[in-house]
Symmetry: C2
Subunit: 252 residues, 2 copies
């Protein structure tokens, strides 16, 4: 058709050096991620159509499409044929699908309810400093709660948040769905997470809170949640009872 003269249109990067070739759709994708991170496109909102975005940015619709497809594959966008493209929300469905891997042995995954034990502010301990990239003088907000399914305690959870990011969260009530709160009130979108699992033995205190015998084995899940720009925003240490439930991991 015609020559490509638009490689420079977006990012006037030096294309003469062969190192670091960045395809157009990747640059477009970066633009979109920025808009998501900046809240220009808020959770649940609808994006302009592919054609509009293509015209605005000055690339073909196919290039916009590739960028949007990748973001949808990363669960940051939701595409619905005939309706449009929307910013993904941290609703219960998504959390259950993407972040909550504990499933009853017989039955399907459900969203547990929570009982908050404590909310406190303290200096970050060694583990929190390392995980959240904090110094020994940084404060964290610690939320401790028990999560139950059908009235039976299942998880003892300790959530650690950098006070710098989430200051004030300790004042209000703690909703069951924290990620949705991070997004709505602090503009922080949890994009993905990494979990480290170990088998441990419950201490007397922990066992009491979960109403089981001390010495009961439990699954310790150490989760680090990352925001859209890859920064660590939450550490969550969970002790899970796995008598009647298991952690489901799909290897694809």
């Amino acid at each position: 058709m015609h020559k490509r003269e638009n490689a420079e249109r977006i990012e006037p990067a030096d294309r003469s050096e062969p190192l670091g070739f960045r395809p157009l759709y990747a640059q477009v994708k970066a633009i979109f991620i920025r808009r998501l991170a900046d809240g220009v496109w808020a959770p649940g909102a609808g994006l302009p159509s592919e054609g509009q975005l293509a015209a605005e940015i000055g690339v073909s619709q196919g290039t916009v499409r590739k960028a949007l497809d990748e973001l949808a594959a990363e669960n940051l966008l939701v595409r619905r044929q005939g309706r449009g493209t929307f910013v993904a929300e941290h609703d219960e469905r998504r959390i259950l699908f993407q972040f909550f891997k504990l499933v009853p042995d017989d039955g399907v995954a459900r969203f547990p309810d929570s009982t908050v034990l404590s909310v406190a502010i303290a200096l970050a301990d060694a583990g929190e400093q390392q995980a959240l990239d904090l110094s020994s003088r940084d404060d964290v907000i610690r939320i401790r709660r028990v999560r139950a399914l059908d009235g039976a305690p299942l998880v003892l959870e300790t959530v650690s948040l950098p006070r710098r990011l989430f200051g004030g969260i300790e004042a209000g009530p703690v909703p069951n769905n924290l990620y949705s709160l991070y997004a709505a009130r602090y503009g922080v979108t949890v994009a993905n997470a990494r979990e480290k699992l170990k088998a441990i033995t419950l201490s007397a205190d922990e066992a009491a809170l979960l109403t089981v015998a001390p010495g009961t084995p439990a699954l310790q899940v150490d989760r680090l949640a990352l925001s859209l720009d890859g920064a660590p925003v939450e550490r969550r240490l969970s002790l899970c009872l796995t008598e009647g439930a298991h952690y489901l991991s799909d290897l694809r």
Copy 2:
């Protein structure tokens, strides 16, 4: 350009009913999966170029491309720019990346070595019947082994295989990398797997084999491996020590 008249070329499915629309690339993908399952394209082999495949099947190169891209995303194919498209192999790199989630706390994942404890044939127990879709009269081959890292026992593993599929495997030596053997000798490709994790307490026997104290907590990993056509082909029950290692799970 010109009208589409090729929707019927591959699969003369009834396109008049609006239900069950199957895009062309999905049909092409199904053809390719069949060739992989039938061993027409063997592990490590190179595929014909996109253009050749497109001409052979009678679709555009873009349609072939979309099918190949999806298979590459599922780790069944490997695409290398400038070289070609190849059938994925179960080499150590892939297994470490896709199937071996146990990582030393400080350090990077490595491939453990194995010491075989026993190889036996027996009637499938209840768990094996359920997992592998067998009847109570079906035989399984059971391989029991200890896997160690730097000489320290890490995993006690029990592999259960349907004798119908893997008859004769009990005769030969048991290689460290079983999936590669399944592919080479039995034409069975493990495409993906599903793991159920629980925290348990080791029995005296198990603890002795792992050279730890009885009562030590361990991570029980119950893996079901599925072949290309989705059939269960291997059950693997692992008891993992998580004192100095953890199970890494990426939530994306």
